[in-house]
Symmetry: C2
Subunit: 344 residues, 2 copies
DNA sequence: CTGAAAGCGCTTACAG
DNA sequence: CTGAAAGCGCTTACAG
């Protein structure tokens, strides 16, 4: 069965294709009667406009692309969910691609999306991304672009972020005011702006509160996994057995560390206090529950799409495209892995 | 900057659009010299074929759609990752939609994908899906379709599944042979084939081993959350404080139950043994680690796409489309939440 | 109120 | 080896 076309309807009713097209789109210059007839027939035959033809005619596909480092990841899938939800409201579909934290793959995925002529692109950068020519390709091709979470400051486009530095500062300050005297930091890789900012927040909090910053207390992790949490918790105990607080870059790692400390019979928070980052739902579930920074993934997805949508519209109306950076608020969630009152 | 078209290249080189098109696609009837010139020019101008025009001409979009109940879910995102990986190898992009376990939304999403004329559709059904007219719409529109994990037996199409009944049988038998005498079951909602099959596996294992099947030991959960795990663990202890084993429909719920038992000072596995389902990575991480059934999500995604791809090719070649049901093996992973040897 | 015509950018059967 | 022409299915400026 070939799909129904405008021509089919036109032939059945003995009118022109033009009239059928206009009737279906409620053009004012078509008679009520014709409209009714056309619409009824379309309905009966279950007519669906050929999206390929519409795309070609209108030069838009009502489809956007999103590239994230990793699909199987609580934070990114929350963002994805937010994007899908918001896109659906505006009649857009979402093509999902992942970079696997690889610069080369990210480049390739961008090329795919550009070839596909999606109406806009949303990206959270891979950790290994250091050059931005591929990102600028998007901008040069005149495709609306919004960067979220893992962004590059130098790229000229709209962005949705959290204030990693401030959040990390808050997290570390919480450890300080609850009485910790020697605070370590498990940080992410050297490149991503995120891990830099969280590290700086940690460092500044120490300095602002008259504590010494000791680089040997900062551990640089690679893949930010549960296993690394276990491994670096062990290492930390060996290197500095008098540490009494840790600010950890992400909850998954923090949970690994907690698991190791539990195994070794270390009392959290009395021997060591721990603060994570992201507020993964497991954090409220493990024992002890994890103090952390809430990072609003779903909301970030919604906002990112909204910005993108605005730019898509601006482009269509040929009004100048304005870039905007939205900073979403984060929140310190105090749970059992840290002390609430100052130890005396 | 308007995108480069075949016409642009043709004009620059003083040849016809036909020749440019053929040269780029390496038709044998174009001279080597022309091919070289055309390709060089295309390269220099960064020519990218207009996907919209190609789609219209070839009636295919090299895009497939996938509908899952929930994006933020470890199993489904693993499947999604497998699908994306495999699709990319074959040059297909993936549009992601979620049904939120809602029949109505599932219907709507299918309609969207059909209107979009994707080359194929992959679905894991919502729990609330009871009629299959919308699924049959896909089949009637001649769009290749593969159902995975949450399938409907009555729908005529290819499927990728695990043998839930057998896996549940294995899980329950493990509890029996390790010495449990009174085994409860936390099951999923009544409709999905999955929860039915896992329940039947549980029941059959009991009967086959000469144990009595007691319906009051079967608890029907709704949203299969961590919280429900906690809540039903409490309920179970109140109703039947002599239960010494539980087979739980999914790991997340099992982890909730473990957390509650831990809080109440119940010894797992000596007081109560627990077996979960899915092998979520947290299962190897909580304390005690959870015995479970490994459900190969990533592989399921890969296989589902492979089946779909085969059908897309068959359709294109106008060879008859053959349906196939692939059953992926599962595995019992014995960890610390169950006993390994028969208690005496 | 209706319709003929052009055109979006490509592919391909056909003629030369 | 090259190219004119038709056509995929739609939209819309224009004529009547």
């Amino acid at each position: 069965m070939k799909p129904i076309t405008l021509k089919d309807i036109a032939e059945i009713l003995g009118v022109s294709v033009t009239t059928v097209s206009k009737a279906l789109k409620d053009y004012p210059d078509v008679s009520k009667k014709t409209k009714r007839l056309v619409k009824e027939t379309a309905q009966t035959l279950n007519y669906k406009p050929n999206a390929f033809a519409v795309n070609l005619r209108t030069s838009e596909s009502k489809t956007i692309g999103i590239i994230i480092p990793e699909v199987v990841h609580h934070f990114f899938s929350s963002v994805l969910k937010g994007i899908i939800a918001q896109a659906e409201k505006k009649g857009y579909l979402v093509i999902i691609l992942q970079s696997n934290e690889s610069f080369e793959l990210e480049k390739k995925q961008i090329d795919l999306l550009l070839s596909k002529r999606v109406d806009g692109i949303l990206i959270s950068l891979a950790n290994s991304t250091i050059h931005f020519d591929h990102i600028n390709d998007i901008i040069n091709s005149d495709t609306p672009l919004v960067l979220f979470d893992k962004i590059a400051k130098v790229v000229q486009c709209s962005k949705v972020i959290i204030n990693d530095r401030k959040a990390a500062y808050t997290a570390t300050t919480h450890l300080i005011t609850s009485g910790c005297k020697k605070i370590a930091h498990f940080r992410g890789p050297l490149l991503p702006q995120n891990s830099i900012d969280r590290f700086l927040g940690y460092k500044n909090a120490l300095l602002d509160h008259g504590m010494t910053y000791d680089p040997s207390l900062v551990y640089i992790l690679n893949d930010m996994s549960f296993e690394e949490g276990v491994q670096f918790a062990k290492k930390l105990l060996k290197d500095h057995n008098d540490v009494d607080g840790i600010f950890i870059n992400t909850d998954l790692v923090a949970i690994g560390a907690i698991s190791e400390f539990n195994n070794q019979g270390i009392d959290i928070p009395n021997d060591i206090s721990i603060v994570g980052f992201s507020n993964w739902f497991m954090s409220s579930v493990i024992s002890p529950t994890l103090t952390t920074i809430d990072q609003p993934g779903y909301k970030m997805g919604k906002v990112a799409f909204k910005l993108l949508y605005k730019e898509i519209k601006q482009k269509k109306q040929k009004t100048p495209v304005t870039f905007k950076t939205v900073e979403l608020p984060t929140e310190l969630i105090i749970r059992d892995s840290s002390k609430t009152t100052k130890a005396s």
